[in-house]
């Protein structure tokens, strides 16, 4: 189980000769259970991506901890092969000079879990799982459409059979028509590979479609937590504002 208990995370801001600490995240506590999708919904600048970086172990909270099965996530051996991520900007998350084959091989050889002989076979199987043919192995990122690039990023995220995948606005930059396809792919992979997702988004409608639990995030803290079904009767003012504005679009 992934346990997030961040009491505080601040960044130093320097303005001319004065520097002050600005808290980005305060009192965020939640558990992420296996084979479940936890949605984190919030406005831009609310601290969602900072939280994602702490869950990935890239950053450490100033006070508090993020633990995976009781061990601190910032230790590399805790998170290795257990947690991966797919980001919003598919263009900058894929190395522009590497082919899809190299992008996948790199992860597999680095982990040492896949033998050299089976690299190609495993890559083709991964691409098939995300709905791409073997012909994509020789393509470079600039030759892929947004949806295809995001499928490659998902294939790379599942290479090492992680338990958890952080999806940080992973479908926000895609066309509406492609968003539904990627969401259905994620749901399919969740079932077949028994994955757990932390789905970070600003779109409450999309979160309702894919998530089992929702955390509504505001100004770096949890405003409310509920299941998508409970949204119908929520009395939380901010959650209601999100729902009403979504419904009136």
């Amino acid at each position: 189980m992934l346990n997030v208990s961040v009491i505080e995370k601040s960044y130093k801001r320097t303005h001319f000769f004065r520097s002050q600490k600005k808290p980005i995240i305060r009192d965020v506590h939640f558990d992420c259970h296996l084979n479940k999708t936890l949605g984190i919904i919030g406005e831009s600048g609310s601290g969602k991506s900072t939280l994602a970086r702490m869950i990935l172990g890239i950053e450490k909270p100033d006070k508090g901890s993020v633990k995976l099965d009781g061990k601190p996530i910032h230790r590399r051996n805790t998170r290795e092969n257990q947690i991966s991520a797919v980001f919003q900007d598919y263009i900058s998350s894929l190395h522009p000079f590497h082919t899809v084959q190299k992008l996948l091989y790199e992860v597999m050889t680095f982990s040492g879990e896949v033998s050299k002989d089976s690299l190609k076979e495993k890559s083709i199987q991964l691409l098939k799982e995300v709905g791409l043919s073997a012909a994509y192995l020789d393509k470079y990122p600039h030759m892929l459409s947004g949806g295809e690039a995001q499928r490659v990023a998902i294939a790379r995220a599942i290479v090492l059979n992680p338990k958890y995948i952080i999806l940080d606005e992973a479908i926000s930059s895609l066309d509406m028509s492609i968003q539904t396809q990627i969401l259905d792919l994620l749901i399919r992979l969740r079932e077949s590979r028994e994955l757990s997702y932390i789905f970070i988004t600003h779109d409450i409608q999309v979160a309702t479609y894919i998530c089992d639990d929702l955390i509504i995030f505001k100004n770096g803290t949890i405003e409310t937590q509920m299941t998508p079904q409970e949204l119908y009767s929520t009395e939380n003012t901010y959650a209601r504002e999100l729902i009403d504005k979504q419904l009136s679009l």
């Binding site: 968003q179 539904t180 600003h202 409608q205 504005k245």
Partner: protein, 271 residues
């Protein structure tokens, strides 16, 4: 005479000899909003950039773009530059990329205003603050003194709209201005566009891949696919009784998520 009349617009990539836009044709009257829908790569953005004359030189633009009776494609660069910003303003998709990160937003907005208007410094500030209040931006003076990284994406997006309005253009081209925004900011920006339509008499071209957004702001719509216009007409005709299969496909794509959300909100899925 229409404010904007685009006739037989063809755009070709001269390096690859690939035609990107095929014979686009539309007209826009004063005070009217045209929504352009299409997936990435359908040619929406380069069509609008052709009106502004902002496409990469490798893209060859052919056809006629009459704005206020003048063919923009025949105008020399100097005269086109005066029109750009003054008569035609563009709101980009990413506010964070539209501003220079090393300079305060206020300074950048002043520079543009000085270039296109005869107003004094004081009047420019008053005008910017007036529109910032209109866009519900709190503490406008402090915002003008901020660098882009100190402001959120939604605020930068609204600042671009403020600048576009303060220049009092005849035409605003908004290229996916709400795509990167969260639900609440998206709603506020769309409300602002509705207010613009009521209070400022300018025409708008609104590009989006989100049909709900287009439905909220546009009077008429053009659907683009692979550089071609596959269907166009009033909002009612295109979005509520589409004829082309591609329009039907676009409409169907988000229905699954929409239906699920609406069912949850009707309480049809109980906890």
């Amino acid at each position: 005479m229409s404010l904007l009349s685009v006739k037989q617009l063809n755009i070709t990539d001269t390096h690859t000899h690939q035609q990107l836009v095929y014979g686009i044709h539309f007209q826009l009257e004063k005070g009217e909003t045209l929504g352009i829908i299409g997936e990435s790569g359908s040619g929406k953005t380069i069509t609008c950039r052709a009106i502004m004359g902002l496409n990469d030189p490798r893209l060859q633009v052919e056809g006629q773009i009459y704005f206020d009776g003048v063919d923009l494609l025949q105008l020399p660069n100097q005269l086109l530059r005066q029109r750009r910003g003054g008569d035609i303003a563009m709101i980009m998709q990413q506010g964070s990329r539209a501003f220079d990160p090393s300079s305060k937003v206020g300074k950048q907005m002043f520079e543009t205003m000085v270039m296109h208007t005869d107003l004094s410094k004081k009047s420019i500030e008053a005008e910017l603050i007036r529109y910032m209040n209109f866009m519900k931006l709190k503490e406008p003076k402090q915002i003008l003194q901020s660098y882009p990284h100190m402001l959120s994406g939604g605020m930068l997006q609204r600042l671009m709209i403020v600048l576009a309005l303060a220049l009092k253009p005849k035409l605003i081209i908004a290229d996916e201005p709400t795509t990167a925004l969260d639900t609440i900011t998206q709603y506020d920006v769309l409300e602002a566009f509705s207010d613009i339509k009521k209070q400022v008499d300018c025409a708008i071209i609104f590009i989006s891949h989100d049909l709900a957004v287009i439905n909220k702001v546009a009077d008429k719509v053009m659907v683009m696919k692979a550089g071609m216009c596959v269907e166009s007409g009033s909002i009612e005709a295109v979005l509520f009784s589409p004829h082309h299969d591609y329009t039907k496909y676009l409409l169907s794509t988000k229905q699954k998520i929409n239906h699920h959300f609406n069912a949850v909100m009707r309480g049809e899925y109980h906890a």
